[in-house]
Every structure is written in structure tokens, then in C-alpha cells.
């Protein structure tokens, strides 16, 4: 939740008024709107597939629901570049895409998972199996599994972030189950009979498991509906963005830089490879991590190039941040464009290897030099592009940006008193 380079720029005259910043911000907001609308459309398809699974559980309906989930990730991951620059997105994001999770909160897990930990008393709560339990001293009635129960009582229960009860990854776990293959190939292998409604039901409580899946999917849709609305003409995300042009441009660059460096290069990629831990995979149940990383990278590039290819193939584009930076310093712009492209090549190589059968969890294995090289090359490309993003901030004269909530920004007089 850090936004070191926060979307508050001093309104100084140093930023040259060259290209039309408002038009660049329009493009940025249009891409956000299209991205969240696409995410919503795909989530609605996921809901239809989940309903088909629950109405008629079978290998085919489970496979169709998994496919719908995988497709739904393509537009959503591209919106992650909006997260760190826009407080309204960052404050909301935890409900939708929180990770990593202690999945034992939700449903049954393998004995090797262990139980409650020092960090999380509820790591193995198993809501699907327990219609009543105590959370932080409060009796919870979970006889009906509803969106409200997930959102208001289970999500981040006991103020532990790993208690992820909602969003894409909770749904992913319910569709795939735990990946017990370690750093060997293979994703989670939940059987369709986990949703069977008669004696065929495996692992117990199939009806409650279905209720949970339904509730989580409904919640995902209402959350995405809300966010898509924030980017419409009168939506709060768009109006906040447009209210201060320099701050808006800084928000764009902050989102790009923070996702590139601290989040993707660091938390999601380097940490996993250095821990050799397959649970550090972003989409660990489905083994979709290579795509998760790839579309994050593409989303960052979309923001800079002012171009987004929608799920129906149509293109949203307009005046770009790249053009704005090029007017200020053509070298900085061309270096940043080259860096973004290089990152896509590196992420593309991970994706290519993964799709050819060298799965992301294998890449994380101890002593797997080829996997480590693939991942670290992408990490280095992301770090390099972060430096170019900082140079773009400077080129635009926007680097007198300070800390969120800092006195020096809110009240510049204060610090010299």
C-alpha cells in the first residue's frame, strides 16, 4: 500500500506545457474504462460457466469454468498498472486480486499444509466444512455462505492479509484446488465431484463449496461493476485524475514504476525464485503465473503507449504519455520504449517456455539455472525500465513529488516554520 511517489505534484511552472496533458489523461482513463469493462464481461462469462458447473457438475463443465477463469485474467492483469497511481484502485484491489492466500481458510487442504500458524490463527479454518466458528472472539454464523459473509467477515479476518476470502485467487483455488506438485510440473487437480450434489460428492460439503464459489463469483462481478463505473465520464476515478493534470501524469508514471519494480520485479518474481517456493507463484493453483506476469507487463506498456487491445480485438488508443515525454526529451522516450519492449520480450520468453511445458513452478526449483535465468532476466528488464520511468518523471519536470500526506506537500509553509 505504499505510494512513495504519490500523485501530488507541486503545481510549479517547471513542467513545460507542450503536448496536451488532458488528452493524454483522457486516453489513460479510456483504457482503464475499457479494461475494467472487459474484465467485467469476462467475469460474467465466468459466472455463467460457474452456474453451468453447479447445475450439472461434470469434467466438462469444470473444464469450461477453468477456461473462463483463465480468459478473465487477460484483461484484468492489464489493469494492474492502474493500481499504484490511483488510490481509488489500490484501496479496492485487495478484494479482487489479493495474494498470496492461506487457502485452508476456505476449504480442505492436504495434511502437509499444516494448521494455524503464529502469523495466522485461521490459516486452516475451512469455512466450507464449518457452518459456525469463532473469529477474533466473535461467533460467526456461516450456515449460509453469502457475498456479505465473505466480504465483511472472512476477508482479511483477524487483520491477516493472507486470509483472502474473495477475488480471483479464491475462485482459482475453488476451481483448481491446491497444487501439490511442488516444483514439479502440474497444477491443482481438484476433481469435478467436489461439486457433485449426490453420493458422488468428494471431500464433503459439496453444496457449501458450490455456495462459496457462487458467492465469490457474484462478489467479483459487483466489485468489477463498481470499478468500471468509476472510470466513466462522471466517475470518481476519472474526475480525480483530471482534476490536476500534473498529478494525473504523475499517477500514470507512479503506477508504471511501482508495479514494475517493487511489486512485479521484487515481490512477485525475485522473491519466488530466491525462496524456491512454488507457493510464491502468483497464479499458483492454475499454473497461470507466466500469463499473469506477461499481462502485467503489457498493461504497463499500454499505459505508456496509449494503446489497449480489447478482448474483442478492437483498439482503444489516443494521445500518449510516450508522445508527451518525447516532446520533453526524445532520448528518454526512446529509451523507455525500448525498455518496455525488452521487458515484453523477456516476459514472452517465460510465457513461451511455460506454454511448451516448462512450467513456472519448475523454473523456481532449487538449482534450476535455466529457470532462474529466465526469471532474473525479466526482473532485470523491469528494474531497468523503472530507471527509465524515473527519467521520464524528471524529463517532464514532475520530480518535485513528495511523500503521501507529507506536510511539505499539503502545507509547503509548514516545514520552514
Amino acid at each position: 500500500m505504499k505510494r512513495t511517489m504519490t500523485a501530488i505534484a507541486l503545481g510549479m511552472a517547471a513542467s513545460p506545457a507542450l503536448a496536451d496533458k488532458a488528452a493524454v489523461l483522457d486516453t489513460y482513463a479510456d483504457i482503464a474504462q475499457a479494461g475494467y469493462e472487459d474484465s467485467l464481461i469476462k467475469a460474467q462469462e465466468l459466472k455463467a460457466a460457474v452456474e453451468a458447473l453447479l447445475a450439472d457438475p461434470s469434467p466438462d463443465t469444470l473444464a469450461a469454468a477453468r477456461t473462463a477463469w483463465l480468459e478473465s485474467r487477460v484483461p484484468y492483469q492489464q489493469t494492474e498498472a492502474y493500481r499504484f497511481g490511483n488510490a481509488i484502485v489500490d484501496d479496492w484491489e485487495g478484494k479482487v486480486n489479493a495474494w498470496p492466500l492461506d487457502e485452508g481458510l476456505i476449504d480442505y487442504v492436504d495434511a502437509t499444509y499444516g494448521g494455524a500458524t503464529d502469523e495466522n490463527l485461521y490459516a486452516a479454518l475451512n469455512v466450507v466444512a464449518n457452518p459456525a466458528f469463532t473469529l477474533s472472539g466473535v461467533e460467526i454464523d456461516a450456515s449460509e455462505i453469502t457475498p456479505a459473509l465473505l466480504e465483511d467477515q472472512l476477508h482479511e479476518a483477524d487483520a491477516v492479509e493472507a486470509n483472502v476470502a474473495t477475488g480471483y485467487h479464491a475462485i482459482e483455488f475453488l476451481l483448481w484446488g491446491q497444487d501439490l506438485n511442488g516444483t514439479e510440473p502440474g497444477a491443482g487437480s481438484r476433481v469435478w465431484t467436489d461439486y457433485a450434489l449426490d453420493d458422488a460428492c468428494t471431500n464433503g460439503n459439496c453444496d457449501r463449496r458450490g455456495e462459496y464459489l457462487q458467492a465469490a463469483t457474484d462478489l467479483l462481478i459487483s466489485d468489477l461493476e463498481w470499478m468500471a463505473a468509476q472510470w466513466t465520464d462522471d466517475g470518481e476515478a476519472r474526475t480525480t485524475l483530471m482534476s490536476n493534470e500534473d498529478a494525473g501524469i504523475v499517477a500514470m508514471l507512479t503506477g508504471m514504476g511501482s508495479l514494475s519494480y517493487g511489486e512485479q520485479a521484487g515481490e512477485r518474481m525475485k522473491l519466488g525464485v530466491m525462496l524456491n517456493d512454488p507457493e510464491e507463484e502468483h497464479d499458483c493453483f492454475s499454473d497461470n503465473t507466466h500469463n499473469s506476469h506477461y499481462y502485467d507487463g503489457l498493461g504497463i506498456r499500454n499505459v505508456y503507449m496509449g494503446e489497449y487491445v480489447r478482448i474483442d480485438g478492437s483498439v482503444v488508443s489516443g494521445p500518449s504519455l510516450s508522445e508527451l515525454v518525447a516532446e520533453a526529451d526524445a532520448d528518454v522516450d526512446s529509451a523507455l520504449r525500448a525498455d518496455l519492449n525488452q521487458t515484453m520480450i523477456e516476459l514472452g520468453q517465460i510465457k513461451a517456455a511455460a506454454e511448451a511445458g516448462f512450467s513456472y513452478d519448475q523454473m523456481l526449483a532449487r538449482g534450476n539455472a535455466a529457470g532462474e535465468d529466465l526469471i532474473m532476466s525479466a526482473v532485470n528488464a523491469l528494474v531497468t525500465q523503472t530507471r527509465s520511468i524515473e527519467r521520464a518523471v524528471s524529463a517532464l519536470g514532475l520530480d518535485q513529488i513528495g511523500f503521501e500526506g507529507s506536510d511539505s506537500l499539503d502545507n509547503p509553509d509548514a516545514v520552514f516554520q
Binding site: M1, K2, R3, T4, M5, L10, M12, A13, A14, F84, G94, P100, T117, D118, E119, S136, D158, A159, E161, A162, G257, S258, L259, S260, Y261, G262, E263, Q264, G266, E267, K270, L271, V273, M274, L275, N276, D277, E279, R366, G367, V383, T386, I389, E390, R391, S394, D399, Q400, I401, G402, F403, S406, D407, S408, P412, D413, V415, F416
Partner: protein, 328 residues
């Protein structure tokens, strides 16, 4: 009016800009040297006596030396993920205990060679893995003939190896910083960029101590988290806060060519506040009557950040760049 003053200052190249050479000579190099030396002594001590009680003094010295450099999070310490391998914290998923237990249960022979051990998960390497072996009752009772002894020696040797590599790499990296803006230097394109890297390290270090070293154990008033304090098993939580502030104050002083009275006062205030905390492991966060002192310290560090931003950042025309803790 004063708002205008900030704007003007930040647009001028002031004569009082930081001398990167001075920072490298007076701040970076002696501290990196010391870290290399202390980890070397730790490895020697481990080879002489690997038992928990025997090795604790050398461990404490090595950790002290680490606190002198842990804020230099760019360049050699960032390369190859060395920061994580030297000091894997926070460990919000309990990976250290898990990784160590798994090595011990398997009697994993990978600990026999430095090359092999360098491949091991960072959760089972570095200062925090060693802390668990030396101070946690679940591990610390091993004898000199047991597997844990070999593991302790491997961790100590691995730390010394990484510190030596960091020390060596800083020679080259220092040259890269000093040739900023010259042809062929693709890392630092302008003279301003190395200063920005140092300034970002300063601000990031303050933020880390405020949000992580103090914020994690503080939790909330209703739900304090004393078990999340950094290095609580070795009783170093408060000491780490103090040593990090002292290191950051030294960086602030060398980074600014002119006196920084406001920042000095802010650091003094925070260090004075730290002296009033009586629990080395910050357990007092869980006691409503003493918790307030830890909260106060956290606020004082927030004050340092604002003062440094205004007094040093504005004067140098710098604001912090992206840091590795951006993200969630």
C-alpha cells in the same frame, strides 16, 4: 510565498550539492568494509565453535555491522538478490522455520559446499535463519556433532562470501557512480542520478524502519503483534531501529554538503524517544501503558522523513525515486 521559494530552489543547481565521492568514502566504504570483516569473523567463530551459546557474540557483532549498510539497497546489495539472501525479513508466511526444518529433517547434504548452499532458499540462509538456529529453543540445543552445526557453519560462511562479494563489487560500482553522465556509463546518465539513488536509499530506509520495523509489531491498538518484531528472538528489535537511524543520520549528513540542523534535531528527537523504550524485543507494544512510546517513536521517524524531504531533498532538487518496497 515560501511555496515559491521551494520551487525556485529546486530548479537551481546549488553549489551545496552532495559530493558523491564524500558519501562513498566516508559513509559507504567504511561500513561495507566493516560488514565484510564482521561476517568473516562470524565464519571463523563458527568454525571454531558452532554451538548456539558460543556463536551468539559474533552473531550480534555481524548483525550490528549489517545494520550499518542495510539501507544501501541499490547496486551490489540489490544484485543477485543479496539483500534477501542476507536478511530475509519480514517473513510473513513462516518460511524460515519451514525451510530450516526441511533441511534438518532431510539432513540435506547441500550444506557441504558453498556453491551448493548458495542455491538454497533464502529463507534458510542469512542472518534470520542463523538467528533461528542460535536463539529459538526449537533449534538451538544442537551439539557440535549434529547436522545443525554444519548448517550454522554453512550460513556463516555464506554470509562472509556474500559480504566479500558486495565489498568487491562496490569498488566497481563506486566508479560507476563517480563517472555518472560520462560516455559509456549506462547506469547513471547524469550527475544527478547517483545523488538520487543515495537520497532514495535514505528515504526508503526511514520508511522501512517506520512501517516495517515498528509498524509490523505495533499492528493496531486492539491487535498488537509483538511476535512480528524484527529479530525479536535475538533481542535486537529496538537495537535495529536505533542502529538504522544512526546509519541513516550519517548518510543524511554526508549527503548534504551544508549543515542540516532541522534534520539533526529530528534524528535526535527520535533517538531520544527510542531510549525511553524498555523492551529490547519491542514486546511493550502489547502493553497499553507502554505501547505509546513505540507509537511515539514511529511518529518521530515520520517527522524525520518530512524534515529530510524539506531540508535535504528540496535543497538538492531531489525527491525519492521508486523503491523496492513500493507495491504491497
Amino acid at each position: 510565498m515560501r511555496f515559491f521559494l521551494v520551487a525556485v530552489l529546486s530548479c537551481l543547481a546549488l553549489p551545496a550539492v552532495a559530493d558523491v565521492q564524500a558519501v562513498l568514502q566516508d559513509h559507504v566504504q567504511p561500513r561495507i568494509d566493516r560488514f565484510a570483516q564482521e561476517t568473516d569473523e562470524l565464519a571463523e567463530a563458527a568454525s571454531a565453535d558452532c554451538t548456539a551459546t558460543g556463536l551468539r557474540p559474533a552473531y550480534q557483532d555481524a548483525f550490528d555491522a549489517w545494520m550499518g549498510v542495510s539501507h544501501l539497497s541499490f547496486g551490489p546489495l540489490e544484485d543477485e538478490g543479496r539483500m534477501l539472501a542476507i536478511a530475509f525479513w519480514p517473513d510473513s508466511r513462516g518460511m524460515v522455520a519451514r525451510a530450516l526444518s526441511s533441511l534438518v529433517a532431510d539432513q540435506d547434504q547441500i550444506v557441504r559446499t558453498p556453491e551448493g548452499f548458495a542455491e538454497v532458499s533464502v529463507a534458510a540462509r542469512g542472518l534470520f535463519a542463523l538467528e533461528r538456529l542460535l536463539y529459538d529453543d526449537d533449534f538451538s540445543g544442537y551439539g557440535a556433532q549434529e547436522y545443525e552445526c554444519t548448517l550454522v557453519r554453512a550460513i556463516a560462511r555464506d554470509l562472509a562470501r556474500m559480504a566479500a562479494a558486495v565489498n568487491r563489487d562496490w569498488d566497481d560500482f563506486a566508479k560507476t557512480m563517480l563517472t555518472a553522465g560520462q560516455g559509456g556509463n549506462t547506469r547513471f546518465l547524469t550527475e544527478r542520478e547517483p545523488r538520487l539513488a543515495l537520497y532514495t536509499a535514505l528515504m526508503t530506509g526511514l520508511e522501512f524502519t517506520e512501517d516495517q520495523r515498528l509498524g509490523r509489531p505495533l499492528g493496531t491498538f486492539e491487535r498488537p503483534r509483538p511476535n512480528r518484531a524484527e529479530a525479536r528472538r535475538s533481542g535486537r528489535s529496538l537495537r535495529n531501529v536505533v542502529l538504522s537511524l544512526e546509519a541513516l543520520r550519517d548518510l543524511a549528513r554526508t549527503l548534504s554538503a551544508t549543515p542540516i540542523p532541522r534534520s539533526e534535531a529530528a534524528f535526535d528527537e527520535a533517538l531520544e524517544t527510542a531510549r525511553r523504550i524498555e523492551t529490547p524485543d519491542l514486546a511493550s507494544v502489547a502493553d497499553p501503558s507502554t505501547r505509546i512510546r513505540v507509537e511515539a517513536l514511529q511518529q518521530r521517524i515520520g517527522d524525520i522523513r518530512e524534515t529530510v524531504a524539506a531540508e535535504i531533498g528540496a535543497a538538492l532538487g531531489l525527491s525519492a525515486g521508486f523503491n523496492s518496497m513500493d507495491g504491497d
